[in-house]
Every structure is written in structure tokens, then in C-alpha cells.
């Protein structure tokens, strides 16, 4: 017999125990699989870490804004899903002039914006001219554009300053989306909040910082597309909340599920978990302007001392592959023969002996605070680099502060990453390996005139095979110099309801919701 006075304590314990029990018990509910012929209709709800910050494509810098603009607007051409080439979009064909200084684009006949206004070459000229403003975030990518001409309503000629092969790929960039000339009579600020495009969806409402509702553009040029009636993007900052909302059926797609739960999600009834190819490559950045990282032997020694597989397992839960070249396999220019300086402790010790600091040294490594993946990676590096006499101190820093510190080159080592906006390798090669490419070679200070000259030459050639050869040489040169150490190639992770079909983001991140459908 339990004493009566114990009852309240017992009741409280029982309550807590039952809460825990219910919380930990498996969910047996599941939904049926609906694969087959695409079905029209349905409302897809995608939860993302943050809301869009702008609906003006030329102003977008965050992935949420970029990938959303690609659902509302069209570009002249679009990258293929695998990143190997370009496909027609608003332009049905394009051709480079014999002097290589002009490209002629033929527009798709009968295309209109979602408000019914005809889309003409005047809209294209306005869009490209305004997007080329060097003060806009991506304006620098258009610096090779000399002029945009409109010989007829359905023909656009883009002249370049030099022979420049990446042009069509740059015109596939979100920032070069086609907007109505003069923003359809709105001010730029008004248009950025309630835009009109020619893409598969149009804006229904936007509650800033909270959610964006899109509905089907019924005058979209793609036959029978899109299948979905509506798409809502909701901002849900917490990864656990997104995961539970998906399990509870409150959302249909969870963008960026935690890598730690990815394997479990794959086997959860009613859910799918997919890893899509991306250009995301993580690096260990080294400050090449500060001793001892000025010494190539030190950089090579560090590269050989890192066991990437260990990092992949412990920090990324197996989601990704060990990196070799600084260019990811998602590029057509990727050279699989550039294997990188793989884990080899003997080789690492040999390189250290050849270096200016054979006894080792102490250094700091910057890690973004609150980023468990980066912290785990740094802890593994701490252990591994101690084998060659390097004592690492982990310095956690708020992401904004970390960015500023790297930019001012006031650091030793940092965990960093790079992604691309276009499928042509030109952008990322310059960004990572060319000092004048816009980011001081990903803030390493690496300065190789040979690489810079090769990058310029590659961009001027038309033949892809010729260009690929030059990019291979660049990859080999960077591999020899190791200004930064490629760690992993990472996929984009998504989890979603098994009612979602043909969800296939491209390597640049575009959701391609135009082809996505929901089974009933």
C-alpha cells in the first residue's frame, strides 16, 4: 500500500515518465506510395531556415531568395540538372558570332508575364542592363557585357568586350532573370516586394520574415506545367521543429534536414530523404600571407595529415565524399585524376622536415560558433595535426565576425566552403584560385600569375574540350600548391513526404518545382 502522502510525488513522476514514454515511442502511421503519372493540383509547403529577404532577382544573395526567384522568373537559358550544359528557356536558341564578340538569342514566341503582358526583347535589354550595375551583388559577373541590342521584338544580341565563352552560362544566373521593362510601371522597391515574372509561379502574398505564398502561373509557357496549384515557403529556424513538422504532416518538404538524422529519416514510413549533387565543397583555408603557411611544404604536410574519411563519418554522418580537386565533380571541368593530397602520415612528416618549421608550430583555427559540424571537424583536425607537431587552438567566432576576420586576413586557419551560382567553372575558379577574382582567392591570399593567366585563357575559348584541358592544368597546379585544402564534396540534403515526386534540385540549387507533383 502506497502511503497517501507520497501520491503527489508519485503523480508528478508518472506524468514526466509518461511524457518521456510517449515521446520516445515509434510512430506507426504511414502514407501510401503514389508514384505513377504526374497528377495536377496540390499545395506544397516547404519549411526553410530563413525567409527570403528580397524578391528582386538582381538583389538576391541568400539561397532562399535566389532559389525562390527561380520559381517566379525565367532566364534566357537554364542549366541542365546535372550541370553539364545549358537548356533553352525564354531563348529557344543562341549562337555566337564568327568574331566571337556577340551572341544572338531568339526568344520563345508568344511568351507573356504572369499579368498577361507580352515579353519582348525590350524587357530582356532592361533586365540585363539593370542587373549589370556594378554596385549590385552579382553585377560583377556581367562585366564582360559591352552592350545589349534589340534588333527585333524576339531577337536579342549581347555583345561582349572580349571573346568570352561563359556568357550563356552567366545569362542563366538568377540575377539575370527577365523582369518587365521599367518594372511594369512600379518603383524598384515596390517591384521587389510584389514582382511579376514569367516563371511557373506567381506571388500571392508575402509576410516579410515569415512566409511567402506562390500560386500557379496559368499563363506559363511550359505545356501542362506547373503541376502544383500553390507553393508556400515558411521560415522555421529550428532544424528539430522542421523535422517534427514534416513528421506531423504540417509541411511537405524540409530544406536542410540535420545530417545526423538523415539516415533515420530515410527509413521513416511516409518520408523520403534525398541527397542531391551540388557544387558545395568544404575547405581548410590557410592564410598564405602569414608564416609558416607561406611555406608550401607546411601546406602540403597539413593536407597529408588529414584523414577526410574520419571527418566525413564523425562530423557529416557519412553525407558526402572525400575531396581531391578544389572543383567539385558537379562541374564538367572536374578532373578526377587530381586526387588531392590524401591521408599519408609518413608523407606529411617528410614534408614537415623539408619545411621552415620542422619541429612544428602553434596556430589558431576559426570555427563558426553554433556550428557543431565545423567544431567537430576542428576537433578532429586538432588531434590529427598534433601528429606532425602542430598545436591547434580552436577559436569559435560568430559567423559575421568570422567572415570579417577572414576577409581582413587576420587568421591562421579557418573552415570554409564555396558554392557556385553558374554551371560554368569560370566563376568558381576565379573565386577560389585567382587573387583578383573577387575574394582574394577565398581569403587565402594565394597569388599565382600562372593560374590567373590560365583562367583568363580558358574563358576566352569556345571549345569545351580545350577549356577542360586548361582547367585540369589549373586543378593540378592548385593541388601542388595547396593554398587551401579541399576536405569534402557535400550534397544538398532534403527530406520530404513520399507524396512528393519529381523533386530534383539542380547542382546550383534551383528547386525546379515546375516539374514537381504531389500524389493524392
Amino acid at each position: 500500500m502506497i502511503p497517501k502522502k507520497w501520491l503527489p510525488a508519485l503523480a508528478a513522476s508518472t506524468l514526466i515518465a509518461s511524457l518521456l514514454l510517449v515521446a520516445c515511442s515509434p510512430d506507426l502511421s504511414s502514407s501510401s506510395d503514389g508514384m505513377g503519372t504526374p497528377q495536377a493540383g496540390g499545395h506544397l509547403v516547404m519549411a526553410r531556415e530563413m525567409d527570403v529577404t528580397t524578391l528582386m532577382p538582381a538583389d538576391a544573395t541568400d539561397n532562399q531568395s535566389i532559389w525562390t526567384s527561380e520559381e517566379i522568373f525565367d532566364t534566357l537559358v537554364v542549366p541542365s540538372v546535372n550541370g553539364e550544359g545549358l537548356k533553352p528557356s525564354l531563348a529557344t536558341d543562341w549562337v555566337q558570332s564568327s568574331d566571337k564578340l556577340a551572341w544572338t538569342f531568339t526568344l520563345r514566341p508568344g511568351t507573356t508575364f504572369s499579368d498577361g503582358t507580352a515579353l519582348t526583347s525590350a524587357d530582356v535589354k532592361f533586365s540585363l542592363d539593370t542587373a549589370s550595375d556594378p554596385n549590385l551583388p552579382s553585377g560583377f559577373l556581367n562585366e564582360q557585357i559591352a552592350a545589349v541590342e534589340t534588333p527585333s521584338p524576339d531577337t536579342v544580341v549581347v555583345r561582349t568586350k572580349t571573346a568570352w565563352s561563359p556568357l550563356p552560362s552567366v545569362l542563366a544566373l538568377y540575377a539575370n532573370s527577365i523582369v518587365p521593362a521599367n518594372y511594369g510601371g512600379k518603383s524598384r522597391e515596390e517591384f521587389a516586394k510584389a514582382p511579376v515574372g514569367s516563371g511557373p509561379f506567381k506571388v500571392k502574398s508575402w509576410t516579410i520574415g515569415q512566409q511567402l505564398e506562390l500560386v500557379k502561373n496559368t499563363s506559363y509557357w511550359g505545356a501542362d506545367r506547373p503541376y502544383l496549384d500553390a507553393v508556400t515557403f515558411v521560415a522555421v529556424g529550428d532544424a528539430n521543429t522542421r523535422a517534427t513538422q514534416l513528421q506531423g504532416g504540417q509541411i511537405t518538404v524540409n530544406e536542410t534536414p540535420a545530417a545526423s538524422s538523415f539516415a533515420a529519416l530515410s527509413s521513416t514510413p511516409g518520408l523520403k530523404a534525398s541527397a542531391f549533387d551540388s557544387s558545395y565543397t568544404s575547405f581548410l583555408s590557410l592564410n598564405n600571407t602569414r608564416a609558416p603557411f607561406t611555406d608550401v611544404h607546411v601546406r602540403r604536410a597539413i593536407a597529408h595529415a588529414i584523414d577526410r574519411e574520419a571527418i566525413l563519418k564523425a562530423a557529416y554522418f557519412g553525407q558526402g565524399t572525400a575531396a581531391g580537386s578544389f572543383l567539385s565533380p558537379a562541374y564538367w571541368a572536374y578532373d578526377a585524376n587530381v586526387k588531392g593530397r590524401q591521408f599519408n602520415l609518413e608523407e606529411a612528416k617528410k614534408e614537415m622536415k623539408l619545411s621552415s618549421t620542422p619541429q612544428g608550430f602553434s596556430a589558431d583555427i576559426l570555427v563558426a560558433s553554433g556550428n557543431a559540424t565545423q567544431l567537430t571537424t576542428a576537433q578532429i583536425l586538432q588531434g590529427e595535426l598534433s601528429d606532425i607537431g602542430i598545436t591547434l587552438t580552436i577559436n569559435q567566432m560568430e559567423p559575421g565576425a568570422l567572415r570579417a576576420t577572414r576577409k581582413s586576413m587576420d587568421y591562421d586557419m579557418a573552415i570554409s566552403y564555396a558554392t557556385t551560382d553558374i554551371t560554368d567553372p569560370d566563376e568558381l575558379v576565379r573565386f577560389i584560385a585567382v587573387q583578383s577574382g573577387g575574394s582574394n582567392a577565398l581569403y587565402t591570399g594565394y597569388d599565382s600569375q600562372e593560374v590567373a593567366d590560365l583562367a583568363t585563357k580558358a574563358a576566352s575559348l569556345s571549345d569545351q574540350a580545350e577549356r577542360a584541358k586548361i582547367y585540369s592544368t589549373i586543378q593540378q597546379k592548385v593541388n601542388d600548391d595547396q593554398p587551401l585544402i579541399p576536405l569534402l564534396y557535400q550534397p544538398m540534403l532534403y527530406s520530404y513526404s513520399d507524396r512528393v515526386h519529381d523533386f530534383q534540385p539542380s547542382m546550383t540549387g534551383n528547386y525546379n518545382l515546375v516539374n514537381t507533383w504531389l500524389s493524392k
Binding site: P3, K5, W6, L7, P8, A9, L10, A11, A12, S13, I16, L19, V22, A23, S25, D27, A47, M50, D51, T53, T54, T61, D62, P134, N135, L136, P137, S138, G139, F140, E189, A192, T207, I208, G209, Q210, V234, A235, V236, G237, D238, N240, T241, T244, Q245, Q247, G248, Q250, E398, P399, G400, A401, R403, A404, T405, K407, D421, F431, G438, S439
Partner: protein, 311 residues
């Protein structure tokens, strides 16, 4: 009373000024450039400098502070760097959500604490007292995010009584969506409230005026409600007032866990995006809420205890 109010309001204004000045200094002292954060890593330096000039960030800090203060006095909270929208418009959408969340949390806390404390005080020391203390220790020692996550899993995911997160569209959906978040915040302050109420109710029940009430032949329930609870609840009001800061802090965490689009989530987005005007404005509003609650707490003493003199 008037002198009290004037003096208090003056002090409150001083506190708010101190908070916004400290926030201004902190956001500007932290490394990280809002223009770079907005334009991204790949934008050229010239574009970043142009944006800094547009936002006035290229001016000396003293000038920026002066503009900030003069704008504040004239009711202009500025424009969000990230969303390029007036902050007053963002606040108008977010503030009612957070206030509703805090109000529901206080209501739940009182509804749970008062009967529990009264029950324990009436029964005296014993099993019930120990039980409530154990429950309080467990609840107080459990982090808010864990309580929130447990409530979500049980009442949202398993039982489907409440949404797993979000805020809904209609007023009914808003109230429904806020039940679990408000309960999470409430459970964070219930233990302290129960302990305080239990102690003061126990004292009140042993006092002469309660004995007098019984001797007059009043019903025990009347004595409890009109004599004991009214006197004993003054300490609860103090605790609730002191907990205003905890409530505001709880709202920050809970809004993130439950994806509630309130002031807390706006503030976090502002901090991460180096959106100085948003951080300054949300801090100002949170500080304002806390000091106004303190003032209301002081004023409520006079209502609950006629002996209190506000001088």
C-alpha cells in the same frame, strides 16, 4: 501617487536609454559588416562601400549615434537592412504575437500555480508538499527547449491536439498554435511562483485575521478566498513582475523552437543578419515591455494591499 508616477517614469526612461545605448555600442563593437552580410562574399568591395554609404555606416560612430537617438525620439525606428522595410511595419506584425504569447504564458502560470500553492498550503507539510517541491525542482531544472520539445512530441506529433509549430492564419488558429509555446514558458516560472505563493499563503493561513474570519462563522472557502489568498497573493505578483525579463527571454527561445513569428524570432534574424536597426528596435521593445511590467507590478500593490503607499 502622481509624484511616484513621475519619478518612476523618469527612472524607466533612463533605464530604456541605458539599454538602447548599450545595444547600440554592442552591435557596432561586434565585428561583421551588415553591407557585406547583405551583399554576400562575392560582391566587389566597391558595391559594399556604396551600400555602407547609403545606410550611413561610413559616418563616425558619434554621428550615427546622434542620428539614432534623434530618430528614436521622433518615433522613427529606421529601415531593416535585410528586408528593406520600415521597422515599425515589421514590429506591428510581430509585437502582438509576442504580447499574446506572454499574456497566455502568465495566465497559464497563474492558473496552474494558484490552485497548486493553495492546495499545498491548506494541507500543510507532508506528502503533497514534498511532491510539489519535487515537481518544482524537476520543472525548474529542465531547460525551456527540452520542455518545449517534449510537449511538441507528445501533444503535437503523437496526440495531434496542437500544431507542431507555426502560427496559423486566423485568430482561432493563432490561439490554438500558442497553447504549447505558452505552456512551455509558463512551466519555466511555475516552480518559483508556487514556492512563493505556498510560503505566503501558509503565513496568511496562520494569521490572526484568518482565525478571526473562522470565528465569525464564515465559510472556509470564503475565508480562503477573501482573507488568505488576497493577502498571500502579493508575493506572487512580485514574482511575476520580477519574472518579466525571464518571460521575455523565454519568448526568444520558444519562438524559435515553435516557429512563432514574433519579436524573438525577428531579433534572432536581426542578430544573424547584422541587421543593426532591427536588433536595436527589438531590444528597445523588449526593454520597454519589462520596465512597463515593473511599473504595473508596483501599481498593483496598491490595489491588492490598501496599506501600501506609493511615494
Amino acid at each position: 501617487m502622481t509624484r511616484f508616477l513621475v519619478r518612476r517614469l523618469g527612472l524607466l526612461a533612463l533605464v530604456v536609454w541605458g539599454v538602447v545605448t548599450a545595444t547600440f555600442a554592442l552591435v557596432h563593437a561586434t565585428p561583421g559588416d551588415p553591407a557585406r552580410a547583405t551583399l554576400g562574399d562575392k560582391a566587389p568591395e566597391s558595391a559594399v562601400q556604396a551600400l555602407r554609404a547609403e545606410w550611413g555606416l561610413d559616418q563616425p560612430l558619434g554621428v550615427q549615434y546622434w542620428h539614432f537617438l534623434t530618430d528614436l525620439v521622433s518615433g522613427n525606428l529606421g529601415t531593416s537592412f535585410q528586408y528593406r522595410s520600415p521597422i515599425t511595419a515589421l514590429l506591428a506584425e510581430r509585437l502582438p504575437t509576442t504580447l499574446l504569447l506572454m499574456l497566455m504564458a502568465v495566465t497559464f502560470a497563474v492558473v496552474i500555480s494558484l490552485p497548486l500553492a493553495t492546495w499545498v498550503a491548506v494541507r500543510g507539510r507532508g506528502g503533497s508538499d514534498i511532491g510539489v517541491r519535487i515537481f518544482g525542482a524537476v520543472a525548474q531544472g529542465t531547460p525551456t527547449f527540452l520542455i518545449g520539445t517534449l510537449l511538441v512530441i507528445v501533444f503535437g506529433l503523437k496526440l495531434h491536439w496542437f500544431p507542431v509549430g507555426g502560427y496559423g492564419r486566423t485568430t482561432a488558429e493563432h490561439l490554438h498554435s500558442l497553447v504549447l509555446p505558452a505552456m512551455t514558458v509558463a512551466l519555466g516560472i511555475v516552480p518559483m511562483l508556487v514556492n512563493s505563493l505556498r510560503a505566503s499563503l501558509t503565513d496568511a493561513l496562520q494569521s490572526d485575521f484568518v482565525a478571526f474570519g473562522h470565528s465569525k462563522g464564515l465559510k472556509p472557502a470564503t475565508v480562503l478566498a477573501a482573507y488568505a489568498i488576497r493577502n498571500g497573493s502579493i508575493s506572487g505578483v512580485t514574482i511575476l513582475g520580477i519574472q518579466a525579463g525571464v518571460l521575455a527571454g523565454g519568448a526568444l527561445v520558444v519562438e524559435k523552437v515553435f516557429a512563432i513569428p514574433g519579436m524573438g524570432s525577428l531579433m534572432l534574424a536581426g542578430i544573424l543578419g547584422r541587421d543593426f536597426p532591427v536588433v536595436q528596435a527589438t531590444t528597445l521593445v523588449f526593454a520597454g515591455i519589462v520596465v512597463v511590467v515593473y511599473l504595473i507590478t508596483d501599481l498593483s500593490y496598491a490595489l491588492l494591499d490598501p496599506r501600501a503607499r506609493l511615494t
